[in-house]
Point group: C2
Chain length 451, copies 2
């Protein structure tokens, strides 16, 4: 279906925001309060024409000019004067339908809806290309850190070799707090909720889903991969025991929820997991709700980005940068060459079999304090070609077993092993065998280690 509009007003781009939550209000504030600045950077006026809300009477903490608010999505989609829709409805439906209808009505899209892109990106991007429209989505990954444009444009001379990042600010806040305050998981989640860093139901943030969706989007961009986020092996911080933060610290590491994509032998190794990261590296020092991403390109080498991954104004900053790019015409040029998940396009990179992932591992076991236990465990590791780099085993202390949530049996003590490099397949099998040993109690904790 051709666009019903033939040409944009060269001096002005008219914008409608659909969904006036926190981010929407921030976008409106930037457009209204800083119109001069935005016009200077775009070379034209970016005009907030409409803002669609569900409840016209709800207070929004922002003074909107008269006539802007409406509760009718149809009104903005049918308005031929609207050039760009800022689509800030969360979830999948009606967000998907609204986006499709808006594009069919000739509008370009700016969105922050990561879940929608991770789920329906193929359909939406294909339709946009058919219609000659564009979708900009800087705000969908890492909030204020402009990683989408950096991968799509600034580092475009490179083959990206690897990306790893802290992409979920909620998890990073919780882990940083647990480490700094020696606090448990549950009370820290409560604190995060009180401070507004975690939602009432933080499941998607803390179980690795959010980071996996973001990693899938970045992997499409950087590797021309076609990844379903559900296929990314992922582990969250929701089972993280404070004792592991302490052992990691003793070994010279911090634990971070790391999303990782690495090109190995032309295949893409993907994972989201609490990971031991060596202290003193920029990634290990990322605190609070910050996000960070380290991209390694074959020409540029490592480039590290660090900033606020969420919050009203950082996210609004990303949305308005996209609006400026769309008003200027840059988004449309970039969109044409974006290696994004258009349907029917063969993936340039395929995901590597999970068992083939390689890395070092941290193991924490609760073992019986009897002669031969360490020998048995080391023997199982050796059978799986995993060699031991270091071991921590302290003498039995009363109370230590309580901290690990075990049954409190006096005969068991914690044993921590750092391995040299091994395959995920071997590590997984060895860990399962070890956890089943009679001399091992409870679950075996296993986390990857990065230098």
């Amino acid at each position: 279906m051709p666009s019903p509009r033939t040409a944009r007003d060269p001096s002005r781009t008219n914008v409608a925001i659909i969904g006036m939550g926190t981010v929407g209000a921030g976008v409106a504030r930037l457009l209204i309060d800083h119109g001069d600045r935005t016009a200077r950077h775009a070379g034209k006026t970016i005009w907030l024409s409409k803002a669609v809300v569900r409840d016209l009477n709800k207070p929004r903490g922002i003074d909107l000019p008269a006539g802007i608010l409406t509760d009718s999505i149809d009104e903005v989609i049918d308005d031929p004067e609207i050039d760009v829709i800022v689509q800030l409805i969360g979830g999948l439906s009606p967000a998907r339908e609204v986006m499709l209808r808006a594009m069919e009505a000739g509008k370009d899209i700016v969105t922050a809806n990561k879940a929608l892109l991770a789920e329906h990106g193929g359909e939406l991007f294909t339709r946009a290309q058919q219609l000659g429209r564009s979708i900009a989505f800087e705000a969908a990954v890492a909030g204020g850190v402009p990683i989408v444009s950096n991968i799509s444009q600034c580092l475009s001379a490179n083959q990206v070799l690897s990306m790893e990042g802290i992409l979920n600010g909620t998890s990073n806040f919780i882990v940083s707090q647990m480490e700094e305050k020696h606090a448990g998981y549950e009370p820290t989640v409560k604190l995060a909720q009180e401070l507004g860093y975690a939602e009432a139901d933080p499941a998607m943030d803390v179980d690795g889903t959010d980071a996996a969706q973001k990693l899938a989007i970045l992997s499409h961009l950087a590797f021309g991969a076609t990844v379903d986020w559900r296929d990314i092996p992922r582990d969250g911080i929701d089972r993280l025991d404070p004792v592991d933060l302490q052992y990691a610290a003793q070994l010279g590491y911090r634990i971070k929820l790391l999303a990782s994509a690495r090109l190995i032998d032309g295949e893409l190794e993907l994972s989201v997991a609490p990971t031991l990261v060596r202290k003193g590296t920029p990634m290990a020092e990322v605190r609070d709700a910050y996000n960070a991403i380290r991209v390694v390109g074959d020409a540029v080498g490592p480039v590290f980005y660090h900033g606020l991954g969420a919050g009203q104004m950082p996210t609004a900053s990303a949305v308005v940068a996209d609006l400026i790019d769309t008003a200027v015409g840059r988004t449309q040029l970039t969109f044409q060459t974006l290696e994004y998940f258009a349907e029917g396009r063969p993936a340039r990179t395929v995901q590597r079999d999970v068992g083939k992932l390689r890395g070092r591992y941290y193991l924490r076991l609760h073992v019986s304090n009897h002669p031969g236990t360490l020998a048995t465990i080391a023997g199982v590791l050796a059978e799986h070609e995993m060699s031991i780099a270091s071991v921590i085993q302290h003498e039995e202390r009363r109370g230590a077993s309580e901290a690990t949530g075990s049954s409190g049996s006096e005969a068991f003590v914690p044993l921590v092993i750092m391995t040299h490099e091994a395959s995920e397949g071997a590590a997984s099998e060895a860990t399962q065998r070890i956890a089943a040993l009679p001399s091992v109690e409870g679950r075996a904790v296993r986390m990857p280690v990065r230098e």
Copy 2:
């Protein structure tokens, strides 16, 4: 003068490189060895048509296809098939004349020549705009760290409030080595030269000139300022004494050559100076020849960038990203709205009077070990409204005075003072008065402090 070419070949952009030094060879390598990748990211072929060298017989460590090398600049400027010139001649002349002639012949420009832009940017950008041509210069600042596009595009929703960065990799390598190895300045410069991190004459790198030129370019972009780099107060690392690195470490800081731009009361505070940066912050942990920049935007908050600021392939990565942007057409769109130093345009931000800069200071003096000395010095500071935050004065040790290069008189000991916030004017006057006291020997070392 109108462009003699009317339209580009939509499927191919022809490029000529002028100046085949290290970076030129890197650019050629990316274009020749990775043509598929470049074409994928640009949506068209980027074709290396010509490479201009001074000496056709000099080995270049790269196999160029037959017919590409030439020693005639005129040949590429007069060739109507060449769309873009990668201008990699160093220095001011003939680089300036070549760039002007190339633009007059209808070619867009990509350059890495920071000194040329810092010196003749006004003329070159004005001429480009008159001719409808573009100049891309990502590689001119911070090598592989894409700070130019990040400020011009990715953070365009923001008013930048401050930028501070380690913009000279040579200086950072030298300072990091001096700190880690407890080595002196001269032997470390020699090491840097042996390793290829410093040129035979490293003056422009170590005296702050290079960082000031880069800061001037970034200040034009971020603040719409019109800054002559010579007006930026600057100090280099060439007089840095290892003893100050040690005192800084005792106080919890590292010393970095920091280029800083801050918007204060609508005026721009600019400086380049060895600065005490608190350990554990990302900026303090930037080692070796890496560059880093921290930008604070009013919406996005702080964004931190870290990567390789020099070297063949990181710089080539920036040049080829610019080439892709120019081939796609993004550079031309961005260039139209760039707040760069077009002649005749009034500056949007003016440089703040140097004396008004405010900050904390580190002072190191060599004082006579007599009663009343500290009281006299504290009195001078108080008269200039500088209050003391901390003091280090150790008992006299033999040899300590030698390390500071003083006359070795036994009666003098080092005194280190950290002040609370004060104005540069007050700090400068107080330091001069203190250095002239009979109880103070040699020069007074003064450096700003950042948290």
